[in-house]
Amino acid sequence: MNENPAPAADTTPAAVVEPETPKQLGDIERAFVQKWHENATGCFSSGHKFCREVCPVMQVTRNENHTPTAFHANVIALEKGHLDVEDVADDYVHCTQCGGCEVRCPNTLMVGDFYRARTETVKVVRAMRAMLVDKGLDREKWKVWNRLTDELKNEPVLGIEAGQPNGQAHVRDWAEGLGIPIGGETIMFVDCEAAYYRTSLPRATAQILHKAGVEFGLMNEQWCCGGPAVEMGYVEQSMRFARHNVDDWRRSGVKRIIAIEPHDYVHFTEDYPSYFGDEFDFEVVQIIELVAELIRGGRLELVKPINRVVTYHDPCRLNKRKGIHQAPREILRAIPGLTFSDVDRVTQWSYCSGGGGGLPLEKPELTAEISRRRLEKASELEVDMLVSACVWSERPLSAAGQDAGIEVRDIIELVAESAGIEIGGRTGA
């Protein structure tokens, strides 16, 4: 051994090193890399990729460009002048903003526990998409979707062809015959997918609240929450819609908003406060937590057995983004007749429907495959129903469920049924 001498150690003293100045960056890019440099460095310099196998998109594409790690590395590459925004535009479409990467990141898990810090990946994706909009590089289908939303004031979830009901004239169609007042201290915010597409959900919710004696009204003029717009990068539009809704709440003396949909809950508790600061002093209640409380307090009795074998799909925005995972399980265990085969919430960090973050608009084939895989997991449990708590997940999951022979239902619809309510409405177009 040791026959070949090692080269002599290099003892040249290191020069004083100045940080590299970003080269040839426009104002928009410079602001972006300055804002996200530190967050990106936290990932880039460790680069361990625990996020990769959790990511629902990456599980399907197996393309490293679509990993959260790449989303952060690109920030450094932009800064160093290696990549332009155009080079990565399509990569950032590959994200449902589920937040699985953030909770799985060791930097979040180990450091965040102590400092409540979190590796911000969802915000980076949104910021990049906003930059694409600013630079006129936004994706075609998103552009059309948001233009229509801007015109209609609701997302065109039923399409615009053949006189589909859209706009303010139809925003409360779902509530027909339920006698819900307009205004009041508490209002129920009904997102577009529920108001126009799966109307069984708001009907079930409203009737549960009536039965439990919870007073609430509807908005004078409800526009889209603006959440999907900001998820796709249309920040100005999102803020304009938010402004309208907040003004509407003020006019009616609203103090409390019941969010019946997880995406709305994220927007009302994160985006709206960031838009309006202290002005935003509304209480935001998530419906699942409220219903669990009503059942627990004996205000809502579940009497009718539902003799089905079910598993629960943790909606990403409840479980991964907001940490709401106990209440839905508590509700399912309270429904008589139900056999509940649970999969723990941490395992479900890697599950998703693919329905969020604008993915179904630009990459419908990925959404379909993500949902197919989710139903495949449910099939392994030999259940006959998959229960979700996010209306946006239920469309792609139901489509996959038809092929898998598994029914997909919303947890609130099951609660209503078990409470003896005739729900009405429809579960699809």
């Binding site: 051994m1 040791n2 026959e3 070949n4 001498p5 090692a6 080269p7 150690a9 290099d10 003892t11 040249t12 003293p13 290191a14 020069a15 090193v17 940080p19 590299e20 530190e38 460095t41 936290g42 310099s45 460790s46 680069g47 361990h48 990729k49 625990f50 990769r52 196998e53 197996r62 393309n63 490293e64 460009n65 790690t69 790449a70 590395a73 690109n74 450094i76 590459a77 160093k80 290696h82 990549l83 080079d87 990565v88 990569d91 799985r104 990141c105 060791p106 930097n107 898990l109 180990m110 450091v111 526990d113 102590f114 400092y115 395992t347 392994e380």
Partner: protein
């Protein structure tokens, strides 16, 4: 390197071979995102390590045809699985075709009669084990990167498992594998016989030749892996010590205990404890007298582990160790994978907090040499820290190294903080020189400079001939014979010497 330097016709033929949209990637984002691994990286030279084209094959036939094409056109080929290695095995040194095997992630056969599972190289260890769970079996290859490491990379680096003392390491747990040679032929290597045979005396045993090949001898396209019964229970104990030497002696007592359920034993030196105390956000406060830690973990049936745990407690306390408590012991052991990525900062000489990335040396050192190697390593670290404000000493830990044989050599790892954000060529070369000095000490003490990451980085790579000694000639002959055109991951481990010698003969 940013401009694509291989001919269009090669790209066209790759398209023809793969026949799928999005499987041949020539865009800059695809290439820049496959230039690095988690190890410290010369960011200022990023574009030097960018491949010309990235391919995402799905089958062995795809890989074979890609490699044949590369060999015919004399274009470099670099295989990449997870890209989570801590050396540069998956980093392209000379552009070429990067073969990213992540789409080869199928479970092809689960054989519960012969206790094997056959998979593609792109499957992740945790994902695999989740799917095996209903069967009561596990593939117990357990690196710190368990949540992101892929089977192909584990074979490529001959990885170390944290449970190696009980179940063996990758080299023991992979029964056989299929590999595409640098000329495109597909062969099966194992212990001999069919792909599910664990022991044979026929012919040469090629499995270990290709194990840890670092992408320089081919591309693994399928592997048949060991399935073991899931442990019924596990037990972890951490003991605190007033001095390193007592902890070190306790480690030996545990390692030599003969307990078959010993999954691993671990040792933290005073510099490590001081660093955790100083800068680890997840550190649970320990009294000042704690200067070293020795830990052990057991896995197996209750009938074995419960009585063995009593022996471990006696051995751990025998020389004066103080048990750390159930909650911390179980919690720290359970968090062993997540600790891999921490922390993200260190200190400069004046004690100022600096964002730093983590660099670790992973030498294999005989037990007897550990104190002296550590003394020299920390001395080297001190010298560099005094001179350059980009380094920090994050201490050392040791781990049982031999598969099923915990009593001999150790994985000895010194962790260094490195201020990557401030890297220029001069400071990068200083880092390389630091690495080289550390590696040389390992070799001088009869060790190996890399127990598990691979000697593929600058600083290590040039010492491979030194460590190999007279066998280096055999290695060069093998490399030349299998890869006549030096297309497989060229520039790694000084293997270019295999070709430089040709003219001289």
């Amino acid at each position: 390197m940013t401009a694509i330097s291989i001919p269009d016709k090669v790209i066209d033929r790759l398209q023809e071979i793969l026949g799928e949209d999005g499987a041949v990637l020539t865009d800059k984002a695809s290439r820049f995102n496959r230039a690095r691994v988690p190890a410290p990286f010369p960011v200022h030279r990023w574009d030097e390590f960018v491949p010309d084209v990235v391919v995402l094959p799905r089958t062995t036939e795809h890989v074979s045809r890609i490699v044949k094409l590369a060999n015919e056109c004399k274009v470099p080929v670099v295989p990449r699985a997870g890209g989570t290695g801590l050396a540069d095995g998956a980093v392209p040194m000379r552009g070429g075709i990067l073969v990213d095997v992540k789409r080869m992630d199928q479970i092809k056969e689960t054989d519960l009669v012969n206790n094997t599972v056959t998979v593609g190289p792109g499957i992740n260890l945790q994902t695999l084990n989740r799917s095996l769970k209903p069967h009561g079996v596990i593939y117990p290859d357990d690196p710190a990167s368990y949540a992101c490491a892929l089977v192909g990379g584990r074979i490529g680096t001959s990885g170390l498992s944290l449970l190696g003392s009980r179940y063996g390491h990758t080299r023991d747990l992979v029964i056989s594998f299929e590999i595409v040679l640098p000329t495109g032929e597909v062969i099966e290597v194992g212990e001999g016989g069919g792909r599910k045979i664990r022991k044979s005396s026929t012919g040469f045993h090629l499995k270990q030749l290709f194990m840890g090949h670092q992408g320089t001898l081919g591309i693994v396209t399928e592997a048949t892996l060991e399935l073991v019964p899931r442990a019924e229970t596990e037990f972890a104990a951490f003991f605190r010590f007033e001095d390193y030497h007592t902890a070190y002696r306790t480690f030996a007592k545990i390692a030599k205990s003969g307990l078959a359920t010993l999954a691993g034993a671990m040792l933290f030196d005073p510099e490590k404890v001081a660093f955790l105390r100083r800068d680890d956000e997840a550190y649970i406060v320990q009294p000042e007298w704690v200067k070293a830690v020795c830990a052990a973990a057991l896995m197996g049936t209750r009938a074995e582990v419960e009585p063995a745990s009593k022996i471990v407690m006696e051995l751990g306390r025998g020389l004066g160790g103080k048990y750390i408590g159930d909650e911390i012991a179980a919690g720290d052991w359970a968090a062993r994978h997540d600790r891999y990525a921490n922390p993200l900062h260190g200190r400069d000489g004046a004690g100022k907090v600096i964002p730093m990335s983590w660099h670790c040396e992973d030498a294999a050192i005989p037990y007897s040499e550990v104190p002296e190697v550590l003394r020299k390593w920390h001395e080297i670290a001190r010298r560099y820290i005094e001179r350059y404000d980009i380094f920090d000493d994050w201490g050392a830990f040791a781990y049982t190294n031999g598969g099923h044989k915990p009593w001999g050599d150790l994985l000895l790892e010194i962790d260094m903080g490195l201020w990557e954000d401030r890297m220029d060529e001069e400071s990068w070369q200083t880092f390389v020189s630091l690495k080289r000095e550390i590696a040389q000490v390992a070799i001088d003490h009869g060790g190996s400079m890399s127990a598990c990451h691979g000697a593929t980085r600058a600083g290590d790579a040039e010492l491979v001939p030194t460590e190999m000694g007279a066998s280096w000639e055999v290695i060069k002959t093998i490399k030349r014979a299998l890869d006549p055109n030096n297309i497989m991951n060229p520039g790694k481990q000084s293997l270019d010497q295999a070709y430089q010698d040709e003219g001289a003969r």
